[in-house]
């Protein structure tokens, strides 16, 4: 990105502030997507330890069934739930559902697509992610 184009660049794309909860949701969607992809690659690698038999599998469990391992898994649970719920909201939006109907605009020109339905969807995704994370922590640390 050259100075000539005066593009905001990554810091503009990654800045979740200034434009409301929808922009925060966009940013979280990217963050959770990348986090989940990293976890998925790690998960495929770590589960391949089953091919090393009982010894190899137990060695891997010693690494992951730790406090740090459980904490990371709790974060992964939260990311997964947020990405899923928000993803469904975004998919519905992409299909034109819940974005409002075209109408003659009038002052103060509030955008119909930034409505309470999608805001509730975003907040629900965040809340459900939190609940899922707490439930996951209860299950993992409760045993």
């Amino acid at each position: 990105m050259t100075q000539d184009e005066h593009k905001e660049g990554i810091k503009g794309m990654a800045n979740p502030r200034r434009y409301g909860i929808e922009r925060v949701a966009y940013w979280l969607m990217r963050l959770t997507g990348l986090g989940l992809l990293a976890y998925f690659i790690g998960h495929i690698y770590e589960t391949s330890n089953i091919l090393r038999g009982q010894v190899g599998w137990d060695e891997f469990l010693e690494l992951t069934q730790t406090t740090e391992g459980h904490a990371i898994l709790a974060i992964v649970i939260a990311m997964c739930v947020f990405h899923t719920v928000n993803g469904i909201r975004v998919m519905l939006g992409h299909g034109g559902i819940g974005v409002g109907k075209p109408a003659r605009p009038d002052y103060p020109y509030d955008p119909a697509s930034q409505n309470y339905r999608h805001k509730i969807g975003i907040y629900s995704a965040i809340v459900l992610a939190g609940i899922a994370m707490l439930y996951g922590l209860a299950v993992m640390f409760g045993e």
Partner: protein, 114 residues
């Protein structure tokens, strides 16, 4: 491939993966989390063909969805004919490598080659 076709696949893999991953997670919870991760129980899961098939499906769906998402992010960060081709083919390659590696685990474990 047209971008609309790629995005339909992206949406389709997402919806399918949600259902299957939910089953995968529930399997860990019904048995008791720590108990479900014991070697014998995991081996039994892999040897049960419908479950192994489901794992294979999850592997393919999430690899496609995840690496396509990464491709989209990388395409938006930088543009140029060579870079875009590299990103597209790189994502496809990574997808295939991950599916191959994961499938190796599933197939070998299912066939008892541990």
């Amino acid at each position: 491939m047209r971008e609309s076709t790629i995005m339909k696949i992206h949406y389709g893999t997402a919806l399918a993966a949600v259902a299957l991953v939910a089953v995968h997670i529930l399997m860990r919870l019904t048995q008791g989390f720590a108990e479900s991760l014991e070697y014998e129980n995991v081996l039994a899961n892999y040897k049960f063909i419908p479950y192994a098939g489901m794992l294979e499906l999850i592997l393919i769906l999430l690899s496609v969805h995840g690496f396509n998402g990464l491709r989209v992010i990388l395409l938006e960060l930088k543009q140029g004919r060579i870079y875009e081709k590299a990103v597209s083919y790189g994502s496809l390659t990574a997808m295939i490598v991950l599916i191959a590696y994961g499938s190796r685990t599933i197939i070998m474990t299912n066939m008892g080659m541990v």
